[in-house]
Structure formats: C-alpha cells, structure tokens
C-alpha cells in the first residue's frame, strides 16, 4: 500500500488534532507517488502495446508509406524537377525517402525506433488515418479520437453511475431485509450478469426497436439532428435509453448481490452491535457505522468496474451504432485503418490509467489511513 511510504513522518506526530495543510500535503505526496507509479505502469503498458502492434513491422510500413506520399507530393509540386528524365526522377525520389527515413530514425535499430514510437504514442502524436476522417474533415488520428471521447464518456458515465448507486442503495435496503422474497430473487438473478451488456443490447433492440418500434435501433441522435436544443436533448435521451439499460441489466443483479453480502458481513461487526445497543436509528447506523468504513473498498470496486467498462464499450457501441471510441475501433478494423487501430488501443490504455489515477485520488481522500497516515497494512 502506498500509505506505507508516509508512515515514518506521522509516527513522530500526535495522531489526533489534524491540521488541514498537513492533510493536503500528505494527499499531495500520495498523489505524486501514485501518479509516478501509474505513469511508469502506463509507459510499460503502452510500450507493450506498441511492441505487439509492430510485431510484423506494421508501424514501420505505415510510416514509410507516409514518407513516400509526402516526398511524392513535394516532387510533383516542383516544376523544375518535371524536366528530369524518369529514371533520374525516381532516383531523386528514392534518395529523398532515404534521407527522410534517416531524419526520422527509421534506419535505426528496432529498440531505438520502438522508443520513438513509445514517445509518439504517449504524447498522442498518432499520425494520420488512412481512410477515416473526423467530422471536421481532419485526418489526424488524435483529432478523430478526441472527437469520439465525449460520446463514450456520456454513455458509460450515465450508465455506470446510475448502475453503481442503484446497486448500493438496493443492497443497503436488502441487507436490512435479507431473506425476503426480493432478496432471494436478487440472489437467484445474480448469475444473469455473466451475460455481457452488448448481449442484452441485442435483445433490447429486438424487443423495443424491431418488434415494438418505440425506441430507435441505434445512433446518438435522430437524423437529421433536431434544431432546437430541447429537441436535441430529448432525441439524445431517447437514443440513450436502450444502451444504458443494457449496461444496467448486465451489472445490476450481481452488483446488488455482492454489495448486499458485503454489507451483511460488515453489519455483523461488534461495533455495529454496539451502536444498535446504544439505540441509534437504523439510518445513522447505516451511514456512520456501515457505509463509512466500507467506502474504500466501494471505491476500489468502482474503479475495477470502470476498467471493464472501457473495454466492454467497444462492442456495446458497435451494437448500438453509438459514435464513441469503441465503435470507431470497430470501423477502423472493418476498413483496416491501421493508424486508427493503434491509436485507439493506446487511447484506451490511457483512459484506463487515467481512470485508475483519478479514483486513486478519491481513494486517498476517503481512506483515513492515507489522510492521517496510519499504520502499515498487513
């Protein structure tokens, strides 16, 4: 645990009477420590991705093709060169390509090049797409990708936040009423979460779009997009119902089941019994004695869930034609747009780590061991 690194300083100080600046400094240190660790992790992760992508020299081929194209364009625009005989012109082009390859260090050994690619990937310098373009017409992979992030974020954030909080609230309710028919129903339904969200999506489309015609098959807004903001939002909402329901259907039962079990285990702790004996209300016990100590594991679970969601979105978005990062990857695969595929994988790796990092900060704020620098956990 990272909190271990902070132990020594805190031992010298009295444990109570925390001053605010102290907490902030500690938090800052924690964030820097975790940030560095995660940055190293992402560097290695992206490097592995680059290695896998370039196993057959694919990145090299792309870059050499780009250089040839650029050189070709330069030569074509230069009127003085057109008078040269074809054989000399070809030699001139080849020389230029070799020069450019040297300049871009493509003639270097593989290790050096792979580091170059790593830096490119980390700085999101992802090159140009072969076929796909962004809505604004740009061929820069970075722009194409950035344009898609809001859609993915909108969908997965809406679905996961509602899923997460619904699950916890129902679980809290069930931990108070365990053994009821509703509780048993949830336990019985828990295995249904094995089925991935996109799979539920297919069924939802079949029922609500194909058979009942009450909700759209997919997409983000109606075509053509409605003109007024109100109508636009309404259309967006209508298009979101099915994918969001698919994610919730997928996660809700097992979510409730796990949280319920978790709360039940925590509510049999002695201090909870003590609180009950003191005559505190059920709500207070829940908030102060059950929820509070379980917050850090809840956040961990949340971050783990998000990691799976970033990846699960690929197929869900494809099934619902949702114009996000995942569907872009699918489109890039189907027309074999290599720079977009590589860029997309790098971006997903990035998003994953960013998510983990942000949640780590939340974790640090919530976990008293980090805040006041408690003992090392065994």
């Amino acid at each position: 645990m990272a909190s271990g690194a902070l132990t020594e300083q805190t031992l010298a100080r009295p444990r109570l009477g925390i001053r605010v600046p102290d907490t902030v400094a500690r938090l800052g240190k924690y964030v820097i420590f975790r940030g560095t660790a995660l940055f190293l992790t992402v560097v290695i992760g992206v490097y592995l991705t680059v290695l896998i992508a370039n196993m057959g020299g694919y990145l090299d081929t792309i870059r050499i093709a780009q250089i040839r194209e650029q050189v070709g364009a330069i030569v074509l625009n230069d009127a003085t060169l057109q008078t040269l005989p074809p054989s000399e012109l070809r030699k001139y082009i080849d020389d230029l390509v070799v020069l450019e390859m040297q300049r871009l260090r493509l003639d270097q050994p593989f290790f050096v090049r792979s580091v170059d690619y790593l830096v490119d990937a980390l700085t999101l310098n992802l090159g140009r797409a072969e076929h796909l373009t962004s809505n604004s017409g740009s061929k820069l992979v970075r722009l194409i990708l950035l344009e898609r992030i809001p859609a993915t974020l909108l969908l997965s954030a809406t679905a996961n936040l509602s899923l997460f909080f619904t699950a916890i609230f129902i679980a809290l309710y069930l931990s108070r009423h365990y053994g009821s028919w509703f509780d048993r129903l949830i336990i019985a339904m828990a295995p249904a979460s094995t089925v991935p969200a996109w799979f539920y999506g297919i069924f939802l489309i079949l029922i609500f779009a194909s058979l009942l015609h009450i909700l759209p098959f997919g997409g983000m807004v109606a075509t053509p997009p409605p003109e007024t903001t109100g109508e636009y939002l309404l259309s967006l909402l209508r298009h979101m119902i099915l994918p969001v329901s698919a994610i919730i259907l997928h996660g809700i039962f097992v979510g409730i089941y796990q949280w319920r079990t978790f709360f039940l285990i925590y509510s049999s702790e002695d201090y909870v019994e003590m609180a009950k004996a003191k005559g505190l209300t059920a709500r207070t016990i829940e908030r102060r004695y059950i929820l509070r100590p379980t917050l850090p594991p809840i956040v961990t679970a949340f971050s783990l869930m998000l990691i799976y969601i970033w990846q699960g979105a690929i197929i869900l978005e494809t099934v619902f034609s949702w114009p996000g990062v995942g569907r872009l990857l699918y489109q890039a695969i189907s027309i074999f747009d290599v720079p977009v595929i590589v860029g997309n994988v790098v971006l997903i790796a990035y998003l994953l780590v960013t998510t983990v990092f942000l949640l780590d900060i939340v974790y640090a704020i919530l976990d008293p061991r980090v805040k006041i620098g408690g003992e090392r956990r065994v």
Binding site: I52, P191, F199, W310, F336
Partner: protein, 450 residues
C-alpha cells in the same frame, strides 16, 4: 459409491441442478457433433458455396415455425429429371434431331409464396447445344410462357430474376406472380396464393444423336430444417451444432490455462517472497491496465484470427490477472502454517512445498472461480466474432451473430438468425454461472450464512 461431498451439496441448490443439466446436455451435444460431423468436414461444408448449398433457400426460418404459423410457410420443393420420377417423352424427329419433353408436377398447399424459383438445366452434346422452352401451368389451367433458352453443359435459368417475366406479371416478382390467384396481382392488391397442382413443362429439342437434356426445378421455400438458413443458403444447424464444442473447448481451456498459471505464480511468489514476489506484483499491476480486448483486436486484425492462437493470447493475458492478489493473500496465510514449517524442516525442495503442500491446500477455492470464468471466455470469443474477428474457418455462434448483424437481421425481421446463437450462448453462460454461484456458496461458508 459415495459421491464427493461438494457434489452432494450442489444438488441441494435447485438452480445448480438445472445448471448441471444444461452443462451435461451441452457436453453430450458436443461429443455427438464431433463424432457425427468431423472437424475438417464441418469446415469444408461451412465454407462451401453454391455447389453444396445451391438447393437451400436463402434466409429461411426453421421449419418448426410452421407449428405456430398454421403450416403456412412453404418448404423447398426439388424435382430432378435425373431421378427418373418425371415423365420424359423423347421422340425422334429426324435421325439427329429429337424432342425431349418433361413435365414437372407438384402440389403447392401453403399460404405464403415461395422465396425463389430456379431451374437448373444440364445437357450432354458434342457441338450443337439443345434448346428448351418452358411453360408454366397453374391449377386453374392458365399457361404462362417462361421463355426459351439454349442449354450449355450447365445452365442456370433463374426464373425469379427474369425481368421480362416480371413485366408480364404486372411487375410482381415471378415467384409471387406465378403462384398468385388471377386478379390479385394487379397494383394495389395483395397477392393471394393459389393452392393446388402446378405444372412446369419443358419442351426440349436436341440436335445430336447422343445429346440429352435434363432439368432440376427448385422452388425455394421460406422454412428449412431445424435451424433455418442464412444469407448464403447455409444450414444454420451446422453452425449451431459445431458452435457448441468450440465454445465449450475455448471457455474450458482458457479458464484452465489462466487459473492454473495465476494460481501457481501466486503460490511461487508468496513462498519465495523478496524480489520475485515484488516482480510478480508489479507485473500484475501493469497487466491490469493493459487493455485486453483491444490487444486481442490488434492481434486479430494484424496477425491471425485462428481461434487457437487467440486462445493462447487470452491465456497469456490472463496469467497476471488480479486474481493473483487474492490468491497471494491466502498463500501468505498458508505459508505460516506448521505443516509447511515441518516440510521445510525435513528439507523439502521449494518446488515440492509450493506444488505438493501449498497449492492443494487452497485448491478448492479455485473451483468456483474456475466455473464462473468459463462463460466469460465463451462470451469473449463471441465478442471477437461479433467484431468480425472470428476464426476464418470454423463456424461459431459468434460468427453467426456477426453474419446476422452485418446483414441487418434485426432490421429485416430475421429474428431466428439472431436468437438461435444468442439463446445457445445464454444457456451456456447461465448454466456455468448458476453452478459457479452455488459452488461459491459451498466453498465459502461465510457466504452461506448470509
């Protein structure tokens, strides 16, 4: 013989019994499938084209739909003059030339129209191609000229796509126009099938002594077999059957591969401690931010879509999964137990301690995890197939879903095409998940209480 305790306990969970039954049925189905249709034959048949599937209807629903549709969906009618069941009237005209008339008679009792009509003509000749004139006779005695053609060695006379015939039939598709009651095919009216006995008369003319003319009439239905057919006329039953062993094998091998390696590595790390343990932990953290599915997609796109290679990659990516952390904390407790100390004292090797003493101790914990992992991998394979990265050779459930999706099955109303693989996938997933959940409660008594 006494059954092992966990299995007896498992039978106490009604859902688990159902799950076991589903798993058992799937395993039996897999074994039967592999025995009846060998691997190579399955691949060859699934990849075959018109030469094998030419007589099958396109996008036909399963035949048992008729139970609910009041027997209104036509099945395919195939009449081949080579079978000798067709009256063939051969008359010599001159020494060389002779007529060869065939009469195809069949009953059409269904309420819906056929989906397509094809006539396959074959001829034997040295130089002069035979000729054929086709006439269609409806039950009420109307005659419709279908046109004439010279017949090469193999000739396909696609009646359904004959534009001139369509014009003759008020612009209706020939398979509708030819089977409709008179007066119902005009614009604005709904064509109604005329039930009864139809005839197709082929008046052939051969110009050589040994020249012969044969024909096969195929009236494609709207329903076929147990599972229906896809857009390439293939029998979906083949894919549904072969999808079973593939899904089970993929799920099972991936689950075995990744849990066993994860488990051993956690044990080794916990026992050896020090830098080995540290390294394993750091690798786990790196692995947890590696995007598994996108990496599989990269490999599928750039290198190979072979399902067994993908399986290997799935296992490799699963080795340093987060499970290591859970197992490690358990092994750390086991490590302190007296019997391990005893083993260490008598000089047991590291390998012996890890594999003979530590791992068996908490192996039961693996069982529920293992069972619940199987459906995840089954769905992973389906996910890759849905993205178009399925195995190029084998028919799998995911590939059928992908075909259905790319051909707009949901928009066009071919629900069976989506539902068949989906239901099978769902059954597999739920079967394993239900058993896994029950096992989890058996092996983790803390869960049983609550």
């Amino acid at each position: 013989m006494k059954l092992p305790d966990p299995i007896v306990q498992l039978t106490h969970y009604r859902s688990a019994v159902l799950g076991l039954f589903i798993i058992g049925a799937l395993i039996v189905l897999s074994i039967v499938t592999v025995l009846v249709i060998p691997y190579d034959e399955a691949i060859a048949r699934w990849r075959a084209g018109e030469e094998l599937w030419g007589d099958y209807p396109r996008n036909a629903v399963p035949e048992w739909f008729n139970l609910f549709a009041g027997n209104s969906l036509p099945t395919t009618i195939i009449i081949n003059s080579k079978d000798g069941k067709i009256p063939k009237d051969i008359q010599k005209v001159t020494d060389e030339m002779s007529t060869s008339d065939m009469k195809f008679t069949f009953d059409y009792p269904w309420d819906r129209f056929p989906s397509e009509i094809n006539l396959f003509l074959t001829a034997k000749f040295a130089q002069k191609k035979p000729q054929a004139t086709m006439i269609w006779k409806t039950p009420d005695g109307r005659q419709i000229q279908l046109g004439d053609t010279t017949v090469g060695i193999v000739e396909r006379f696609a009646i359904s796509t004959d534009q001139r015939l369509s014009l003759k039939l008020e612009g209706r598709a020939p398979e509708v126009g030819l089977f409709a009651q008179p007066g119902t095919i005009e614009k604005g009216k709904t064509p109604v099938v005329q039930k009864g006995r139809y005839e197709l008369i082929i008046e052939g003319l051969t110009f050589e002594k040994d020249s012969t003319l044969d024909a096969k009439l195929v009236i494609y239905g709207q329903a076929y077999g147990l599972a229906g057919t896809d857009h390439r006329r293939r029998d979906l039953l083949l894919a549904m059957l072969w999808g079973t062993p593939i899904a089970l094998a993929f799920g099972f091998l991936a689950a075995v591969g990744s849990t066993l390696t994860t488990f051993s590595i956690a044990a080794i790390g916990a026992w050896l401690g020090g830098w080995v343990d540290q390294l394993i932990q750091r690798l786990t953290e790196i692995n947890s931010v590696l995007p598994t599915l996108p990496i599989l997609i990269l490999i599928g796109t750039f290198y190979t879509r072979n399902i067994w290679v993908i399986l290997g990659v799935v296992i490799a990516l699963g080795i340093f999964s987060l499970g290591i952390k859970t197992y490690r904390s358990m092994f750390l407790q086991v490590k302190e137990m007296p019997y391990i100390e005893a083993a260490h004292a008598y000089g047991a090797s590291n390998l012996r301690i890890v594999f003979r003493y530590m791992m068996p101790k908490i192996a039961p914990v693996l069982i529920p995890t293992f069972v619940t992992l199987i459906p995840n991998f089954v769905f992973l394979e389906a996910s890759l197939s849905v993205l178009g990265l399925g195995d190029p050779l084998l028919p799998t459930w995911g590939k059928v879903l992908n075909d259905a999706y790319t051909n707009g099955a949901l928009y066009k109303g071919f629900y069976y095409w989506v539902l068949e693989p989906a239901v099978l996938l769902m059954l597999t997933g739920l079967g394993f998940a239900v058993v896994g959940f029950a096992l989890d409660r058996i092996f983790n008594p803390r869960l049983r209480e609550v």
